[in-house]
């Protein structure tokens, strides 16, 4: 028993107990996932704001006397007069291989119930992309596994490719097939023990989809063993009212997905 007490004391000892200065403000007006906040002097553009209940907001509109922020998450319990805190951090998301095989939301918080994300690093969402000269030239093909595409319009690693099509024509299927094919190639090379092989990790960003559609896609990825090489970033239609109106939740994942990709080796 005394061992547990000593452990607790050690944990408390490790905790920073010094007094720190915090910038705070009060919600003046809130609605549709957008809050007008008074106070918060010194807050920066794109800085994360901590709302009560662990909800995160993003300072987007800095005015003379107030700050306009979008709320990324559930805002239904927030009300006028609530105190908010500036975090001093620009919007950032966890990155790293700990995200592989996981389903996360716009801020990188887990949605799949598999526990916390094992990631030590974070990466800012708003960052200037490296220039074209700095980027490595395309010198390696990326097989989609679909013979017609690979033969007629081959894709290289690092290239961007847009899939355009009418509804229910198989755009998602092409993307999912590519993810599965890449996972199959990764597994094959892992078995062969090829040290020079660089595995391809896929990031599937599901924006404004029904939960049932996403669940179906996840089931396919899990069944084929491709989920272990994939990160799923989801901002579904049912996430919050903001998702289906002004959609801050659906704007961030694009950047989120791309930054997770940029970090990957």
């Amino acid at each position: 028993m005394s061992g547990i007490v000593a452990e607790i004391e050690a944990e408390i000892g490790k905790l920073k107990s010094e007094v720190t200065k915090k910038h705070t403000g009060r919600i003046r007006e809130i609605g549709d996932g957008v809050a007008k906040i008074e106070g918060l002097s010194g807050v920066a553009l794109n800085e994360m704001i901590e709302f009560p209940g662990g909800v995160t907001g993003l300072a987007l509109n800095l005015e003379e006397t107030e700050v306009g922020a979008i709320i990324i998450g559930d805002f239904t319990h927030l009300k006028e007069g609530d105190e908010v805190k500036a975090t001093g951090k620009l919007l950032q998301v966890p990155v790293g291989k700990g995200l592989l095989g996981r389903v996360v939301d716009a801020l990188g918080a887990p949605l799949d119930g598999k526990g916390p994300i094992k990631s030590k690093e974070s990466y800012p969402v708003e960052k200037i992309a490296p220039g074209i000269i700095k980027r490595q030239s395309v010198n390696q093909p990326l097989q989609t596994g679909i013979l017609a595409i690979d033969a007629m319009i081959p894709i290289g690693r690092g290239q961007r490719e847009l899939i355009i099509g009418d509804r229910a024509t198989g755009k998602t299927t092409v993307a999912i097939d590519t993810i599965i094919n890449q996972a199959r190639i990764n597994q094959l090379n892992e078995k062969l023990g090829d040290q020079s092989f660089r595995p391809v990790y896929s990031i599937y960003v599901a924006v404004g989809q029904k939960n049932s559609s996403l669940a179906r896609t996840l089931a396919v990825l899990e069944e084929t063993g491709a989920l272990a090489y994939t990160i799923v970033v989801a901002a579904n239609a049912s996430d919050s009212a903001t998702s289906s109106t002004w959609l801050p939740l659906q704007v961030v994942p694009w950047a989120n997905g791309s930054w997770i990709t940029e970090w990957m080796p």
Binding site: I12, L15, K16, S17, V19, T20, K21, K22, H23, T24, G25, E38, G39, L40, S41, T65
Partner: protein, 129 residues
Amino acid sequence: MKINRAARAEAKSLFRICRTEKGLDEERLRKVIGIITKQRPRGYLQVLGRLGQLVRLEVARATHELVSATKLDDGGKAIFGVLEKHFGKPLEQRAEVRPEVLGGLRIRVGSDVWDATIRGRLEALARSA
């Protein structure tokens, strides 16, 4: 109430008139409000609304607030003295007793907060766990 750009600009210039080097001049502010309510220029309600907002923010910016779990012996005079020395003369000094903070002090000057309460530390501990 929706406040238009012209009313905002007008309220801001009036607010500037009421400010001196030492801070907000209450007497001058009363005079200005009196003149506006008497003359009732176009959009005066919006101007007054915005002026009220600016004054409220100025008061909040220059308010020293002290929160403790129990009543302080000197009513917080010693701490207010230190704060006044550091941040200048406040428009308002407020000492509150909130037993829910359990112990320690929480000081607020404008939008800056120094939280040294036991509750604040427990919340930090809960967040780090």
